[in-house]
């Protein structure tokens, strides 16, 4: 084996893991699917100009420190445009790069694959012109593109941030339709202490909202219903508030967001056990303080272990690397624990606001479990009605459903329907999430050209079957 550690994902967690490991002499391979490092939060930061920095903010520009440090670290072999489609419980990573598929082995593998946006199933959400707010932000970061007078709908810090960044870019925002609800805010109150300890983050968020309000952008609060209109593309969105106000807004672009969740596909397909996190309403890998999982050799860092943000990701990335280094004998245990102390303290500080945010912005049930007419599985074009019909037949588990009607069998591998299907089952049967479970995910977690797979070379020794 050539590498001591293979790190998957070059966001803040992955970059920090790789650099920490290399600092102590480990030979590291860093694989990432994007053309440049940064993950999603620091996407395209290397090529951002002054204007982009100004629009996106100093936290974004700060990511450049990480990418520059990464580039200067010569013990790290960094491979962009790498499509990692499998990680096994046999210390193997399967990935494609430059048209070839390869299977490499390493004693330790750090999964830092981050998060994706939670599905937001509402009528019309599959029409061209609808994007996730994180996607709109990526277009802004990577290509300096803004839409004309879009509508932002949903809840969560990222939604407000992108709307704010649009305004900073001089773009017009037609409206912000806020779906956060009072019952979530009430659930958050017991955790307000943690929030107040991060007054800096709270005031940042409030400054975004202030600017949005000052800009004259129409804002609707306590939105309880959303419907997107259009035949072959978006032409408007109508909403209804709790107070009974309703309106239709004409627009060609709608940006949806109701939180981010760990991107579990690689971890679950590797056999890593997960548990249901009731505040974040999603699956988290079961890990120890070093990110180690039930699978020997597999460690998780960053938002993929649970949403914590970019700073927390750096801390967990460091802890993951330190743990691996100790296992490899590159540092001794005492040294490792010493180094870890200050990192853990920083991590606690970063995560102190989490419970408050998790509950405050917890998406409402009616936006997680949609009406019958709404498409649930985008890839296979199945509606909530289709899913409920199958459940009515007594087929009431996500995997049985998948076998019966193809929900979750499309290319996205359940990333945009898995949570919805699971929660529909919960609503129809009254069962708890842990009991219902999730799709049984298998590799490849992203499609591989058949030709590439047929020609694949495996790192010796061959798989012991």
């Amino acid at each position: 084996m050539d590498y001591d550690i293979i790190v998957i994902g070059a966001g803040p967690a992955g970059m920090t893991s790789a650099m920490t490991a290399a600092k102590f002499g480990a030979k590291v391979l860093l694989l990432d699917d994007q053309p440049a490092p940064g993950g999603q939060v620091y996407r395209a930061v290397e090529s951002a100009d002054e204007r982009t920095d100004d629009i996106l903010g100093i936290e974004y520009a700060a990511g450049r420190r990480l990418t520059q440090a990464l580039r200067s670290q010569h013990l790290i072999e960094y491979v962009p445009h790498a499509n990692v489609w499998q990680v096994t419980d046999g210390h193997e990573v399967g990935f494609s790069s430059g048209g070839s598929a390869r299977l490499l082995r390493a004693p330790w593998i750090i999964l830092a694959t981050g998060a994706i946006e939670r599905p937001f199933p509402i009528p019309g959400w599959t029409l061209p012109g609808v994007m996730m707010a994180g996607g709109a932000q990526a277009l802004l970061k990577v290509s300096g593109l803004v839409a004309d007078a879009p509508v932002f709908a949903g809840s969560g810090p990222l939604l407000y941030l992108v709307a704010y960044q649009y305004l900073k870019a001089g773009a017009k925002v037609a409206a912000l339709l806020d779906t956060s609800i009072k019952s979530s805010r009430l659930k958050a109150l017991p955790h307000v202490g943690g929030a107040l300890s991060r007054w800096d983050m709270l005031s940042k968020g409030r400054s975004w909202m202030a600017k949005i309000r000052k800009s004259g952008t129409q804002i609707a609060n306590n939105v309880t219903e959303l419907r997107i209109h259009g035949k072959s593309a978006v032409n408007g969105i109508s909403y209804q508030t709790q107070k009974g106000l309703s309106q239709e807004i004409k627009t060609e672009n709608i940006f949806l967001h109701q939180g981010v969740v760990p991107n579990v596909n690689l971890a679950m397909a590797a056999g890593i056990e997960h548990f249901w996190h009731s505040a974040q309403l999603c699956w988290h890998p079961k890990i120890d303080a070093w990110g180690r999982t039930n699978v020997d050799g597999l460690v998780v860092a960053g938002d993929g272990m649970g949403i914590g943000g970019a700073e927390a990701a750096q801390a967990t990335g460091q802890l993951a690397a330190l743990g691996c280094l100790a296992e490899l004998g590159k540092i001794d245990v005492a040294d490792c624990e010493n180094q870890a102390k200050s990192v853990s303290a920083a991590l606690v500080r970063e995560k102190s606001i989490r419970p408050f945010l998790d509950y405050w912005f917890q998406p409402a049930l009616h936006f997680r479990v949609p009406s019958d007419e709404t498409i649930v599985c985008r890839c296979e074009e199945l509606t909530a009605q289709d899913i409920r019909d199958v459940i009515d037949m007594g087929i009431a588990g996500p995997n049985q459903l998948k076998s019966y009607c193809r929900a979750g069998m499309g290319l996205c591998q359940g990333r945009y329907c898995g949570l919805t299907v699971q929660e529909i089952i919960g609503q129809e049967t009254g069962r708890e999430p842990e009991d219902i479970g999730y799709y049984r995910l298998r590799p490849p977690i992203k499609p591989i050209p058949l030709d590439e797979l047929a020609e694949m070379e495996a790192d010796p020794p061959a798989n012991e079957n």
Partner: protein, 376 residues
Amino acid sequence: MKTNSHTADVIIIGGGIHGCSAALHIARRGLKVIVLEKDYVARHASGVNAGGVRRLGRNLAEVPIAQAAWELWQDMPALVDDDCGYRSSRYLKVARNETELSEARSRVGKLNAMGFKHEEVIDRETLRELLPAASESCIGALHVDADGAASPFRTTLAFKRRAEALGVRFEEGMPVLGVKRQGDIWILETPVGQFVTPSVVNTCGAWGGKLASWFGDNLPIEARAPMLVITSRMPVFVEPVVGALGAALSFKQYDNGTILIGGGVCGAAYPDENRTRLDLAGLTTFLKTARAIIPAVKHTHVVRAWAGIEGYTADKLPVIGRGEEPGIVHAFGFSAHGFQLAPAVGSIVSHLVMGETPNLPIEPFRVGRFDALPMG
């Protein structure tokens, strides 16, 4: 004292397709049946196999059962009130050299002598008509024109529902933990207490050997994880189901354009943990075969791979027959080719349970043929 709800005329252990088919056929004879399934119906091989409804290429011992099953497959709605997603389809096993072709001819001769006319050998030209996408290396094929494919999960569920309509009770999440004989009856220990019956059917698939040993029968079985792959959608350009005479391959394109490819390569099976581990490097063998026979497939993507847990016997033939002790019938070990046979095997099992001579020849599948081998 046992309550009524835990006794039955027949208890079937194992809710895969063979268990569900047996349940249906036995219920049709008017008996009270309970099926005990340790996970959920069709959880394992029955729910995730390639769905091939195939007579082509079977071991000669299985052909009479396959032919009887074929007749039932022509009208599944009559049997189970559901079409099971069944589509009639040609099957081809292509030959890539003269030896393979001549072996195919001699096989057809043997079948004809047995009275079976469904298989024939076709030449290069006819092959190209039926399979324009075949590569130049294919010089002919073994052919059946009216086999087919169905949806395995849906089919198994259809048998279950029809059986339930006839009064069969299915207990899912109900493992059998141990077995005792008391006089004329079997006592089956489960987490909720004892189930009691004079007659047990063992359709436990990859776990069949373990169960068989509890009843005193030595029927070693190996749990394996045959891998399957599904591709992204392409326009439909392959109509028959395609295999190869000289290599393990199964290639089927569905109406929705996706292509299912299998090739007898196994991952790792962990039956005690209900899981399998894929060996993606191992897929390269049969992907290369698929590409060599149907070159255009290289333009597609592998979207997903999976492997169920299947039970294989030493001679790759199933066990179908009465055990040593009275009141035990086995039907398992179908070694990755049991799906098509199931509608007919259920009927055979019902005859065995009733103490009758089965309607189809089952000598090659007898219990006891592995007695020379160590306990499995």
